[in-house]
Symmetry: none
Subunit: 202 residues, 4 copies
DNA sequence: TATGAATGAGGGTTCATTCAT
DNA sequence: CATGAATGAACCCTCATTCAT
């Protein structure tokens, strides 16, 4: 897919990310991308087979990274043999997810918006991803319940709550209201989740 | 805007809602709408100035209704002089919001997806709406805190949490995983929120 | 396929025939066709799904007609119970084929050239058509042989000779050297074929 | 035109012949040719000024060869002072032409298809060539007529018949139905032509 | 000379919108 | 008001050709 000049490829990807973030996939014209990248129309097609391909290329990189980190990290979200340890792990998880998102803010926004947006290329991929993440969280909630630290009537529903809190917070505070103190947000988010799950304090 | 035959207008709106929900705004062609409505291409423009206008028309109706009910209802979300009363009001609020959504599921989905979706016509409108709702919730949280029933370090952030929980739950359980028991969901949602806000039980 | 205004459709077909004949399918641009037809670019697509479709449309009409007449007529090419009758039938067949071709000269040329031309849309169709015609002729030659009027070592090869003579003559005298006396040509062609097949004169 | 490395030039020509035969001139991309030849895009233009030039180069070589042999050989097609000698010469001519064609089958096919195909680069060249060949044949027919061995009302028309028989047979039996016994074909072709021209047997 | 990245003029097709009937 | 044919501005993508290295 990717052509031979890494500089040109990077320009194209950079321009595409900017344009997709600004106008969305559909409204972004290839001519927008190439003119921002400073190359000709034809050059685009030396690097990517189509407008859709560059989009997938951009998303796939991010998805792979997020998925890997999310899976690794989520395994430890409610780890611990005391309320203190559990809280520490929740905080660490939130921190790491914030970092991943902040380092990939533009792409995260593209994926998020195109994933939810109707007719978006990623509707299915996005909703599958959602299910995977929610299942992962549910498993961890179940472990916490088994160990007697957490309480819930339905771990599946709780998992959706937790995922929704993460995602909405990331969306709102990173993309819409950008001036929030992330440290405070992190503490409150951990607190809200753990209270919601009735963490038995030490 | 609207032409004189309410039947034709309703057909067009109905068809547009169906198509927008199915394919999204961008991918829906005016020809899709008119052929589903059983009228000619030209007739469309006797009723709506453009494809965008029928979209706004559809959304505005829903927004007005939701906004009105949301505002009315939200004023009472944490009302009450006891934990029991507060919980009752939270449950009632959730119930009513669920009903509004379910009665307008198609339009709700359109607005939600197009509002978040990048390049969506409603990016701004949607994000303004979000702010309005979040502010409303924040005010109620503040009241609850003042009255000594609720606790939070930052009512604004809590409001985002609450709104996120509502919206994500509605999205996920009404649109993605459609077979959830809404009564259980409602109870758990109320419980999660109230625990998260440290409701002082009677 | 065809749109609703027969006048516009006819203009488009007429223009397409002219352009295809002049420049060939590949080099003819849709814009050539519409500008010659005096309609806009978009109008073309109200009548034909694609450039290829109008081409097929044009060819199919001619093919159907030729095939029908050819099949009907060929059944009688070597009919007769005397050399005189057979010769009369061969002459009549040639006449009729000449007429069909002359009445559809432009389309015939298009089909002929695009059929033979490599990469032409009709390579396969054309070669199938060829086989059908040659088989038809072979059957008639076989009948003539059985009845003892004609002689050949291999009716299949003779059929190819006959078809080749027809086609090459039509091509050369109708399209390349246009000033030939068709009556003389017809007589000579019949004579050549019948001598080639050793018609036993009465 | 041609660059300095005969190996590279030959690779390009070989690849071009293969591709032109397979896909036709228009549908063959320069990139097809260079990738089959194993050289870079730019190298192509060190050897040939354009796609059209390599095509002409290929055709011209073949045309020169065919024309030379055809002219030499055709001078003797109806040579001889007896029916037996004439027949022998016709057979020999057919044999030689078959050999030339079979040794250059790919190029022959290209020239034939592109020459007839509409918009082909060689429409004019091809039709001139045709006229030259037909004139050559006509002259020989006239000689045969003068010597009293052959009979025809119009040597020009007979020449077209003869050329048509050659060409169509070559096309059909070498390119379409490839499993014909060429010896039988040769004998029948000679026989058909000579009967058609009323060769006075000894 | 060989390379192959860059070029950019077009071409086919779509579809929201207009307007004469 | 209803119709639906006509419009034409875009937009994605192709590919022959160039040129700096």
């Amino acid at each position: 897919m990717a052509g031979p000049d890494p500089g040109t490829e990077a320009s194209l990807i950079g321009a595409a990310v900017t344009m997709f973030q600004e106008k969305g996939f559909q409204k972004t014209r290839v001519s927008d991308v190439v003119s921002m990248a400073g190359v000709s129309q034809g050059t685009f097609y030396n690097y990517f087979k189509s407008k859709e391909e560059i989009f997938r290329h951009i998303c796939n990189g991010f998805i792979a990274e997020v998925q890997k980190l999310f899976i690794e990290r989520t395994e430890h979200i409610f780890d611990g043999d005391s309320a203190t340890e559990i809280r520490k792990n929740v905080l660490a998880t939130i921190d790491e997810l914030f970092v991943i998102y902040m380092e990939n803010l533009a792409v995260a926004e593209i994926l998020f918006r195109e994933g939810i947006g109707n007719g978006g290329l990623f509707k299915e991929i996005y909703e599958d991803l959602l299910s995977i993440f929610i299942d992962l969280i549910r498993e961890q909630v179940e472990k916490g319940v088994e160990k007697g630290f957490l309480t819930t009537d339905d771990p599946g529903i709780s998992a959706v709550f937790i995922f929704g809190l993460f995602e909405r917070s990331l969306f709102y505070f990173l993309l819409v209201r950008r001036n929030t103190d992330l440290k405070v947000l992190r503490d409150m988010l951990a607190d809200f989740i753990l209270k919601g799950l009735s963490l038995k304090e030490d």
